[in-house]
Symmetry: C3
């Protein structure tokens, strides 16, 4: 067991689990917003709160990292994880702000589907992070990472489909600008989830 050797190391895992729980919250709220068809003031401010909480945890991780000499795994991996988990929440918050800024009051089916895939992927990220702490859960982590990679491919296809549809039917160029941006941002959330899976995968291999 790896952690026996570093009994006094700070518990980074606890903070990572906290951080990913904010990402899950953001993904769920995003799904709810999209299901309702538009952004309310209340939803916007709840999302901002989640984003701030996620930010706080990220800062605590980086602070702790800078103060800790012995870490449970490579420093740069801790740094990457904190940054990428923060990015997930940030980017979901961004999409919601964008819906607002663009005055989009009616959400299309493509974005509804994106919100479902994003929620699945972020939940898989949570399983991967949750399983990292215990070597017995290697299989759980592995399966979660495979799932995240699969969903990233699903997202690529969804974006290509959504963009093809958008450009094929485009009448209003302003709408094209708005939706192109939103679809791309939605797909990028899945890319960042995949980045997390890569880091988690690396950590597991190094400790094997």
């Amino acid at each position: 067991m790896f952690f026996r050797f570093f009994p006094k190391s700070f518990n980074f895992f606890e903070l990572f689990e906290k951080q990913v729980s904010h990402a899950v919250e953001a993904a769920c709220l995003f799904k709810a917003i999209v299901a309702c068809g538009g952004v309310t003031e209340d939803a916007l401010s709840r999302m901002a709160t989640i984003e701030h909480q996620g930010d706080d945890v990220a800062h605590r991780i980086i602070d702790q990292l800078n103060k800790t000499f012995i870490t449970p795994f490579d420093r740069e991996d801790i740094h990457s994880l904190a940054k990428q988990l923060d990015d997930i929440t940030d980017m979901i918050n961004n999409i919601v702000s964008r819906l607002r800024v663009y005055g989009i009051t009616c959400v299309d089916q493509n974005l509804v589907e994106f919100s479902l895939v994003i929620e699945q992927s972020v939940r898989a990220v949570a399983r991967a992070i949750g399983g990292m702490q215990n070597h017995k859960h290697g299989q759980v982590v592995f399966e979660a990472c495979v799932e995240i990679n699969r969903l990233e491919n699903v997202g690529d296809a969804m974006r290509d489909h959504a963009l093809s549809e958008l450009f094929a039917n485009a009448k209003d160029p302003i709408l094209v600008i708005k939706w192109k941006d939103i679809y791309q941002e939605a797909e990028t959330v899945l890319d960042v989830c995949e980045d997390v899976a890569h880091v988690v995968d690396s950590i597991m291999v190094k400790q094997a």
Copy 2:
């Protein structure tokens, strides 16, 4: 005093101060260009010169880093700082090129305000970098980093405001494409300044 222990280490601080001085120059020139309402040939070539000078310093830092065994702080932090300070100058230069490429001859008030906030933020970056060399200036560095973070939030709100306005009043989609791009690039300069603040903050914490 940290540097007593590494009396022969190359003086990276001197180069970082030089590099940030080019970023400040770029920010000031950008403010002047925007205040005049458009890009002249002369301004374009002065900006290109500043960008090349910044580039040169970045290369010297990386070269020196590759040749130096003992560095005053973590190698990856030196690398990040050199890259990010270079990015600030590059991105300001990019905005100016974009104004030219898009044939924008009349700059709007939102960009004028961005140019003021960018200048403030880059000057705060200069204070942070300048203070790093001496532990007595910890408070100066800290305050500069807080200011950079504050200005990044101001920039986010400015971009959202500018985009909302742009899309609400959009008649000409080509203009929307151009200005959306320019506002986003302007906001990204403030993001990069914030990245610098994070690295500086990390360096200070590690040395505390």
Copy 3:
């Protein structure tokens, strides 16, 4: 000779050469597609195959890196190279997908020129990677890196020229959206080639 000291280290160079050969294949196919004036189903699926092969090699490099204690050069440089060589193939594949998604059946002269410069740059990347393994080839590596940097500047000028033309003659905003995206992606391929040149350069300096 550097490798005498690490006789048992895994042969990363072989995998890097394999990875860059996929990037060269992608660049050649892209040139052929653009020369024909549009994307066929067959070309699309051949490009996807190349991209998967490149991906596989990247994963093998990262896996090996995670399992290898002593590496021929800095771990983070190996990681960056694997990532960036993968990005070259990915991004060329992306442009081709984009041509498809945007329903572009007639390619313009600017993209033809981009495809020629991209092929030249990726071939220079291949020469740089190929030369790294043997210190006698330092001059070859150096010249390849200079060439990559030169082509990146050429690409910047090509993008600015193409965008100026696009916006000056813009009648259909939807076409502007499509081509702006494609030119920028084309230019980004050259940026990534330059990133490779920087890493290669760093590796050579550290080993000198």
